[in-house]
């Protein structure tokens, strides 16, 4: 138990500068939660004052941040350095790192960010749509095949979006948002308007993005394979011709 707790305490000291300060100031109180031998206690108390531990923290954080910057880079740009720092530090303090799996970490961060947006404790008008787009891109980039346009077919009884496609609802023009982010410019002034982005797996890890008409986006967004065709159209508030068009395009199975 002792070595186990020593490693747990040492890891906590690396991950948490706050704990490090508390242990440096008052080792007995700071390490009270760990079962340690006297020697381990002395070692950790000394390490808490070792500037090398700060380097450990920097590497730990860089490693953890790189999981996000590699998987959801546009989300990081949407947040900007200040917003990213605020959200990421809050996320880290509540969610210890579970693995070095980049996609899993991006999903955990996304769940946290969506919860903060829903609770109103964090605000950014572009965050939800860009983060959803990047999460769906991650899913499709690992798809076991590619989407190909289909031929005209009958509307299925319970329409379902093609498994190699995703639709993301935007509240701004996605082309403008993506172009602006990629150019490193701020998103201020991008007008709010309902738009939909279609993502399709292109094979080999590639994902194609293109805007689709709003009515098509609305209907595809509710094609979940559980609702009947007429229910889908009613829910989306569109005529059956719109559903017929997306079926003809091979977007629905």
């Amino acid at each position: 138990m002792s070595l186990q707790d020593f490693q747990r305490a040492l890891s906590d000291l690396v991950m948490s500068p706050g704990l490090r300060s508390r242990v440096a100031e008052a080792p007995a109180a700071g390490l009270a939660g760990y079962e340690l031998s006297d020697q381990e206690h002395r070692r950790l108390a000394a390490l808490a004052r070792d500037p090398g531990l700060r380097t450990g923290t920097v590497i730990h954080r860089a490693s953890r941040l790189s999981m996000l910057s590699n998987t959801i880079p546009r989300t990081c740009r949407v947040l900007g350095s200040r917003g990213l720092k605020e959200l990421v530090h809050a996320y880290w303090s509540e969610h210890p790192p579970q693995s070095m799996l980049y996609v899993q970490e991006a999903r955990r961060f996304a769940d946290y960010a969506f919860a903060r947006l829903a609770a109103g404790t964090f605000a950014n008008p572009f965050l939800r749509e860009v983060l959803e787009m990047e999460l769906e891109t991650l899913v499709l980039s690992r798809a076991d095949g590619a989407w190909e346009p289909g031929e005209n077919r009958e509307i299925p009884e319970r329409p379902r979006l093609h498994p190699f496609c995703r639709v993301v609802a935007f509240r701004h023009d996605p082309d403008v948002v993506i172009r602006t982010l990629d150019a490193g410019r701020p998103l201020d002034g991008v007008a709010a308007e309902e738009r939909f982005l279609l993502l399709s797996a292109a094979g080999g890890g590639r994902v194609n993005l293109r805007q689709i008409p709003v009515e098509q986006g609305r209907v595809l967004a509710v094609c979940d394979g559980r609702r009947a065709a007429n229910e889908v159209c009613a829910l989306a508030g569109v005529a059956q011709e719109v559903l017929r068009a997306v079926v003809a395009a091979g977007l629905v199975v």
Binding site: L3, Q4, F6, Q7, R8, L10, S11, D12, V14, M15, G33, Q39, R42, R43, A46, L47, D50, G52, L53, T55, G56, V58, I59, H60, S63, R64, S66, N70, P96, P97, Q98, S99, M100, L101, V103, Q104, R142, D144, G204, G205
Partner: protein, 301 residues
């Protein structure tokens, strides 16, 4: 017996450490290296402990595996894992060892390696966590016993020699019962495992902790060294980082030239660079590092 296994290993030559951004470079520059070293863990998604079945737990990426199979037809592939966390006190991941054994059967690598550190452990919340840092283990008798038992298990499960890499550390655990060289020597002597000597780690530790790398190298049993790692680093706030960020420092090339005549069982010298630095460093400097490693290795031969 195990010493013989190390002495009989094939001398592969110069290796390149694989990163995702090097996919194109690897295929376009096969002549610049003799083998490719891969971190197998990036080719699968680990569903976590408790997942029944090795194939279910380690879901391999089809495209990445197809790429690796293509490379393996042309160059030997060596596994250098980051997933064992052999120094973790709370658990030993035998499923990971089985997965490596499966890869060995598939790719036929003559040796494999991991790090002498811990990075995975159970958090107070009950979740398994990964610190993302190769955390040092205390060089104590009890830790040595723990490691020897685990190395024995690895060697019994994977039918080729196993190497452990000396760690880079930015803080030094006080009151250790032995020094790094003694610990490594006793570990390799007791288990018969090999040593992956990361010279850039030794250089980094020496620079940050104020000792001459030769002091450590002179005390190490260099006959246990099967593979050598080279890499570059950078200075940050007065600390030199093993950042794998570019060319190898001249001092490390000098160390390589000095120790090669004393490492009779070295089979490979690998250059490591993190993939995110490749776009700015570019292909020619990478080829230069590989050429330089080959020149020094050839001089020894």
């Amino acid at each position: 017996m195990t010493t013989d296994r190390i002495a009989d290993l094939p001398k592969l030559g110069v290796g390149l450490s694989y990163q995702g951004t090097l996919q194109g470079f690897v295929l376009d520059n096969l002549a610049s290296f003799d083998f490719l070293e891969v971190i197998p863990d990036v080719f699968w998604v680990d569903q976590g402990r408790g997942t029944p079945g090795i194939a279910e737990r380690y879901r391999e990426n089809r495209d990445s595996m197809a790429y690796l199979a293509r490379v393996a037809e042309q160059r030997p592939v060596i596994c250098h894992s980051v997933g064992l966390s052999i120094g973790s006190a709370d658990y030993f991941d035998t499923a990971h060892v089985e997965q490596i054994a499966g890869w060995q059967a598939r790719f036929g690598f003559p040796w494999h390696s991991d790090h002498l550190s811990f990075n995975r452990l159970e958090h107070a919340s009950g979740h398994a966590i990964d610190v993302g840092v190769t955390m040092p283990v205390p060089y104590d008798e009890a830790v040595l016993d723990l490691l020897c038992e685990r190395v024995d298990h690895v060697q019994a499960t994977v039918p080729v020699p196993f190497l452990l890499e000396n760690n880079v550390y930015y803080f030094s655990i006080p009151e250790q019962e032995m020094g790094e060289a003694e610990f490594l020597n006793r570990l390799t002597a007791r288990t018969g495992c090999g040593l992956l000597l990361d010279l850039h780690n030794v250089y980094t530790n020496g620079r940050n902790h104020g000792f001459d790398p030769r002091e450590l190298l002179d005390r190490l049993d260099l006959t246990r060294v099967v593979e050598i790692h080279l890499g570059g680093g950078m200075e940050m706030d007065g600390t030199y980082l093993d950042a794998h960020s570019g060319p190898c420092p001249p001092e490390v090339w000098t160390l390589l030239a000095e120790i090669l005549p004393r490492t009779p069982n070295v089979c490979g010298v690998v250059f490591e660079m993190f993939g995110n630095y490749f776009p700015s460093v570019g292909p020619e400097p990478l080829r230069q590092e590989l050429r330089r490693a080959r020149e020094i290795l050839d001089r020894r031969a």
